[in-house]
Symmetry: C2
Subunit: 414 residues, 2 copies
């Protein structure tokens, strides 16, 4: 078995150190290196200074591969290129291919090109130029005493594009990858610790080359099972077998076998059945509508929403009788069921989904504390409704109520 | 003038290197150190291995202060504490104060405490224990050859709490801070490069101890003017003067003199005037409602929304005559104005805000390409409406249309 290679990441930019920008590049590189069968050893963020860059480069001379992002722009504070020349004992020379790339990019965008942009075509003589079709900053590949340094722009979408298109194929060619595979199982309706108890025996019996990660988010838990093994077939088959065991343990909590939000699962189910829904939202304030309309093509399954934030609107728009609100209170089973049937009728949909609750931080009573949410789903078969408490944080209440509304709708569709 | 101290950050955790979690702690620390008059020199992320931790500690012996986060939990992979003992040549001993903290935390949460949690009270003999009221992991302060190492848990909310309550006061006492101050000006309705052109002369004439950052986001640009100077009064007065000059240059684009979303500005204006609004949303899909309802107390100004995603609902719910839709098309000035007045009447609000457009990626025509959005605001004075093109990315179209809808409402309120 070949030895694992050591990969380090260096991010250059003052804006990262003063907290103006969160460094998302390091995590993205880590994830994509893992998926390709490599491992990120460390990630260092430094400012735009020659001293910091040279120190960081020197500290990486025990690595096999150094991935550097940032500091490659045309402005005065982008000092990576001159510092590269110092470290690699070379000089900046004009690169026609890089210049052509800058010219064509400006042409495509219809902008005037300035003399300053010409400086982007000046590259260290010792480097191999790698085309960047995503922007004007160059991508560069250099070696020193067997250590490969690859330089990418810091702008995340440029970095991601270049890494995927150009760098990763080169890295795979040069270094040995250990086959890696991951599976994601999406669960809802069960808390992380209860889930952990349910699958404890299975988790403890996993082969040592597989590992399980719990990734909890508002009202759901993503489970990621991943592993690395020289024998890719064995890895694949073991994952198949273990995922089958897992799904048999917790079938009622799984809403997707890939990384996607629950509204996507509901969208697919509705499309397959040729059915539609509409929502009547009080405490979720339009979020049920918002998340479904982020999906292109949602107009095929989603008729609309009525956010009746003001109580009289529940009567006027949704036809909830005022005496029902008066008698049971606006946060009640009776009201949520009338809202669900009301919006189903109003919008002429197959399903009506309704929420009413107290998102907080104020407005709670002893009987109906902050976090109380009634959710109802109406269909041709009648109305199903349930009461929940989603805690005290307003944003969390809204998000968890939204996810649970989709989960209740999904239950009606399976 | 005292010399600036060198502060380094080390984040420990495999989950950061495989991209399972994005390291937000480093940016947060960078921002809060800046605000307190310090500067973060570098931020290093490493995995849970003794070798990596020792290498990182040794590489920090040229710093004055090292802020370490993560790896302090009760599980086997949390190896920071034993490694600290190795580096500082000390041993783990039982700490009663740390134990009492763990016990009281479990009591407060009503959970059973396990033997494993007792291990959290074992601390390096050489360390000063700093109480963590946010969780069970300890906070520790150690010194080696004049370099201070401060250890915090990696969980962001615990780290933030401890840093603010306990560490920052100690750091301020021990090291010299250079007074820092920042101001944020929120603009909308003008692109970053046009804004830069308008304020170019002002920006170039700024005193060298002030710096301006452009932070663009969907449809708006945050301007941050910040500076550090030993003379805090001079710094404050200079900022006052420069901010006054800036606001005089671009008064029509500024919606807030502090870091807040535009719906917050609209919320405040409506509260002050005792007025309300409602929305009729097509392409924004409930997002106008969603963002306002994230603000506690929004029910005082927001009556509700009607997301009429299905075209017939525009007629049925909002009363837009079918022949108007037929004649002008659903994405048109006539329809958006009828939607705005329709929802204003329906919801009995002072203002009605409406959107209709093509969020994409499909559904565009030559006449009405993807990204086209009509926005209308109805009031007792009539309806104002405008047409925009917000580009091809669905999420971006939705976000920019939402911000512009609030901007148009704001214009009616000032």
């Amino acid at each position: 078995m070949m030895k694992e290679i050591v990969i380090k990441n260096i991010s250059i930019g003052d804006e990262l150190l003063i907290g103006q920008v969160i460094n998302t590049n390091a995590a993205w590189l880590g994830e994509h290196l893992s998926s390709a069968g490599f491992q990120l050893d460390s990630a260092l963020t430094i400012g735009d200074s020659e001293r910091a860059i040279l120190d960081a480069f020197n500290a990486c001379m025990d690595a096999d591969l150094v991935l550097v992002t940032g500091g490659l722009g045309p402005t005065a504070d982008d000092i990576t290129k001159p510092t590269v020349c110092k470290f690699f004992d070379t000089e900046l020379v004009f690169c026609q291919a890089a210049y052509d790339n800058v010219v064509s990019l400006f042409k495509r965008r219809g902008f005037q090109m300035s003399e300053r942009n010409r400086s982007q075509a000046m590259l260290p003589k010792a480097c191999e130029y790698i085309p960047n079709t995503y922007g004007t900053a160059p991508c560069m590949w250099l070696e020193k005493k067997g250590v490969v340094f690859a330089f990418m722009p810091g702008v995340p979408f440029e970095m991601k594009g270049i890494f995927t298109d150009e760098l990763l194929p080169r890295i795979k060619q040069r270094f040995h990858a250990v086959p890696y595979e991951k599976r994601v199982v999406m669960t809802t309706g069960i808390g992380e610790s209860f889930l952990a108890d349910k699958i404890k025996d299975w988790e403890e019996a996993l082969p040592p080359f597989l590992s399980l990660a719990y990734l909890p988010q508002h009202g759901m838990v993503r489970l990621r099972l991943s592993g690395r093994h020289e024998d890719a077939v064995l890895l694949h088959e073991t994952l198949d077998r273990e995922i089958a065991k897992l799904t048999a343990l917790i079938p009622e909590y799984i809403f997707a076998m890939q990384d996607q939000p629950i509204e996507r699962t509901v969208f697919d189910l509705l499309i397959n059945k040729g059915m539609t829904f509409a929502s009547a939202e009080s405490c979720t304030g339009g979020n049920i509508a918002h998340v479904i309309t982020l999906i292109p093509g949602s107009s095929d399954v989603f008729k609309g929403t009525a956010v009746t934030y003001a109580t009289p609107m529940k009567t006027k728009v949704l036809g909830v009788p005022a005496e029902v609100i008066e008698k049971h209170g606006v946060v009640s089973q009776e009201v949520v069921e009338r809202m669900a049937t009301g919006v189903r009728d109003l919008m002429e949909a197959d399903f009506g989904v309704a929420t009413t609750g107290v998102a907080g931080p104020s407005g709670g009573t002893e009987e109906t504390p902050v976090g109380t949410v009634w959710i109802g789903v109406a269909s041709s078969k009648g109305v199903v409704s349930k009461c929940f408490n989603f805690g005290k944080d307003r944003e969390n209440v809204i998000n968890r109520a939204t996810i649970m509304a989709y989960e209740m709708l999904r239950q009606q569709l399976i």
